[in-house]
Amino acid sequence: MNKNYGEIISIYGNMITVEFFANIVQNEVGYVLIGDQRLKAEVIKIKGNTAYMQVFESTKGLKIGDKVEFSGQMLSVQLGPGILSQIYDGLQNPLPELASEYGFFLPRGVHLEALDYQKKWHFTPLVKVNSSKLIAGSPLGYVREGLFKHYIMVPFNFYGDYSVEEIASAGDFCVNDIIAKIRDEKEVVKELSMVFQWPIKIPIKAYRQKLSPKDALVTKIRIIDTFFPIVAGGTYCIPGPFGAGKTVLQQITSRYAQVDIVIIAACGERAGEVVETLREFPKIKDSRSGKTLMERTIIICNTSSMPVAAREASVYTAATLGEYYRQMGLSVLLLADSTSRWAQAMREVSGRLEEIPGEEAYPAYLESRIAEFYERSGVVELGDGEKGSLTIGGTVSPAGGNFDEPVTQATLKVVGAFHGLSRDRANARRFPSIDPLESWSRYKSFVPAELIAKAKKVLFKGNEVYQMMKVVGEEGTSMEDFCLYLKSEFLDSVYLQQNAFDKVDAATDLSRQEKMLVKVIEVLDTSFSFEKKEEARRFFYEIRQLFIDCNYKEIDSQDFKNQEQAINELINKGAVAKCDSPKG
């Protein structure tokens, strides 16, 4: 087949328009040829015989009339064994390999294979010759990739039923060795290797059905698991101003979340933050598997100074890899930091296309794009009845920390949980700085709803008293109200706040959360009587200190039991009568 070429007719920033002569496809990849460099670009608009293309690299030095070679392929990723623990840029170029080949800098116009084509994998077949009724996504065999069975499946773009013509017997293969031949209904035989391509902007749907997400996804962060839970296959967002701790929260989640695979999409954020992850993760042990965290992690790294068009692609790349592993019956957590940078990338492109802008110059399709992205999450029932899930959590960086802006609002419409970070809490060093008064979750918590409601009521009432106290002072506040305020502060500091730098406190599992919450609620339920406010304050400081010390102790240690004992004694000492719910 002759190659399909076009010619550049205009250049503006990373947007070029290209005159073409044969047929082209929307979202097709083309390469701008400049010297011996090939700059990757994607068709994003077609009008007459002009294609508008965004270039994934710097357009410096391009000229009118430069050739563009169309590939006929949509922007795709390679799916096969070897993706886990890899560090990719937004277009699935492996960064460590680029570094060993080109040194400090990322040169323009180089592309490396996403997978290692030399590495041998031990393949174990799961089907026999003449097995029939295979469909897209049916496993043919598996290889061991780190901790997991990596299923080699019928490619997802194969439609109809297939039967096996030939299948390799167990043995070592490279990813592009032929391991099977399958025959379709029209008797056409296709050869399969362990790798195939999939366009990133199209969701993978090779499953039987999508189920509604129910099972809690444990993050070991108390305020999230207890108060604003997330579920496997669900979605959530973390909006917050700069300095409020979005990235730290994401990092903690990526360490402790109870899932099989974590995909970190560093989208338009600081390179330094990714560096911490990629230098630390190979050293940190995962408590579930005993292996390093890196073995269950994929990093998609398109930091703020990397080309903006590739930033737009990076979240789709991450989602596609997530869907791929979901097809193997694994639970995958995708953390996108930050979706605002992705939306800004869309805005830049839209501006260069001279589209009529919506609010704050974001394109009119912003909301639908955000919705589409989060909709790629979900629990699915696979062909063999197994279940896999993809959970998506995105941070949002609203301009000026004001949640009333298009990206935050469009995101809130489609997610299942909202963890709003507050600058006030961050300034007061109350971490994680999730605002308990504003945040919400549509998912069910693992603790009974009455307990949650009770605790939230104390927080709300306590806050009211606090606001009042700012005006009338401590002197003008009744003892009852004052106690309520102290109780809400107590709940906040011993349960909602969590020290990410302490070995024990950083991760609290569910049984411990439940145990502690019951104890905390007991304090909230108890009526105390004090003569003076100072006495009340002192009492609550004391009990707070006991709880906090408790948080730092291993749950099965003697220290913990002693501490528990001390707490019980103190509660009994201060209590006058127990009532069912705090007054107010």
């Binding site: 410096k60 301009a399 060093r429 500091s493």
Partner: protein, 463 residues
Amino acid sequence: MKQVHSKILSVVGNVITVKGSGVSYEELAEIRTVRGKSLAQVIRLDRDIVSLQVFAGSRGISTSDEVRFLGAPMRVTFSPNMLGRIFDGSGMPRDNGPALTDNLIEISGPIVNPVKRIIPKRMIRTNIPMIDVFNSLVVSQKLPIFSVSGEPYNELLARIAMQAQVDMIILGGIGLKFDQYMFFRDTLEEGGALSRTIFFMHTASDPTVEGLMVPDLCLAVAEKFALGGKDVLVLLTDMTNFADALKEISITMEQVPSNRGYPGDLYSQLAARYEKAVDFQEAGSITVLAVTTMPADDVTHPVPDNTGYITEGQLYLKGGHIEPFGSLSRLKQQVNDKTRRDHRAIMDGMIQLYAQYRETEEKRAMGFRMSGWDKKLLKYGDLFEQQMMDLSVNISLEKALDNGWNILAQCFVPQETSFKTDLIDEFWPKNMSNNTEGQAEDKESSFPPQGLDESEEDSDGEN
């Protein structure tokens, strides 16, 4: 390929268009007008129409003026001879020295591969307690100085330029007032720091567009020196002017503005510059300190807001000193455990007490009665402002830490602070006459107040 065109089709703002072919994107051109020569850069190509932004501005450009394409993008010379020299926003000498044209390097070159970055671990000492003790500057950090106009930010930069422990300084001025430019030159000359400094100076009287190049010129040169093993500190003042120049060009190019007239790619543009800060493994480093003036002290203004999302913290200059609140060095945790073992404790403890002083100060202003504890806080606040916050204080980190203990001992008894016992045993000044006034009567209110418990000690600096 050098082409000459002598028909200017349009002049809008500082952007002109000519007809041309074979021109490459971001190529430089030279325009000869009756008033002299100016450089211009290609910012858009549309078939045979070439749009150029004219660095010297479009005033006085005649439609018959000559436009000559130079066949190369913007480049800058690079050699050790640049030290001590002053250049303008197009890289031409501003002092009376000879033009340097050898060894040209491209500006805004490729970006650093994230996997080749290392976690920064080295501190840069500046002898300014508010930086060294409370917001340590770390090699490869990018840190803006958020400031209201009228604050002494340039004085602060000049002091850092003279005292910072780095191999060399590159100072970039964007839209600098002429007297500020002279101030920098004179101060560094008197201080003897001129010989380790390179200036790229664009003053307010120069054409706006020329200022756009300054950060790229500084960082391109810095990168070359860093690759050669030098620790380079790049100081930029003021990045708000840079953003305003971007705004001007994008509006001229009829781009849809996103927020208060700034272009939608403001974040990417700023990030492309700030992210040049790097610590090269087995070579040198680039650290960036950049002044960002906040119009009307509004941190949610697009320029400081976008900057805050890019940089690793910020220094907040207000009322003539670096504010303890709002200022944050995100990287300080990487270094302040290796200086002296009381560093972190002093950093957290003193700030928490100062926060209480602020509350007390508010209460006092509202006419509430001052308790004994309040009085202690008031005294503490005064001393803290004089001996730590004042920008003229010029002492080493160790001296500043000692000073911190002295201030504490002058105001409090050890139990009133939240420090760990072993630190108090080692560092609390022994024969200090403690301030005991009001101590007995006020036992109640001297109870360690909120926020001084262990749980919060190490959480400082999370981002």
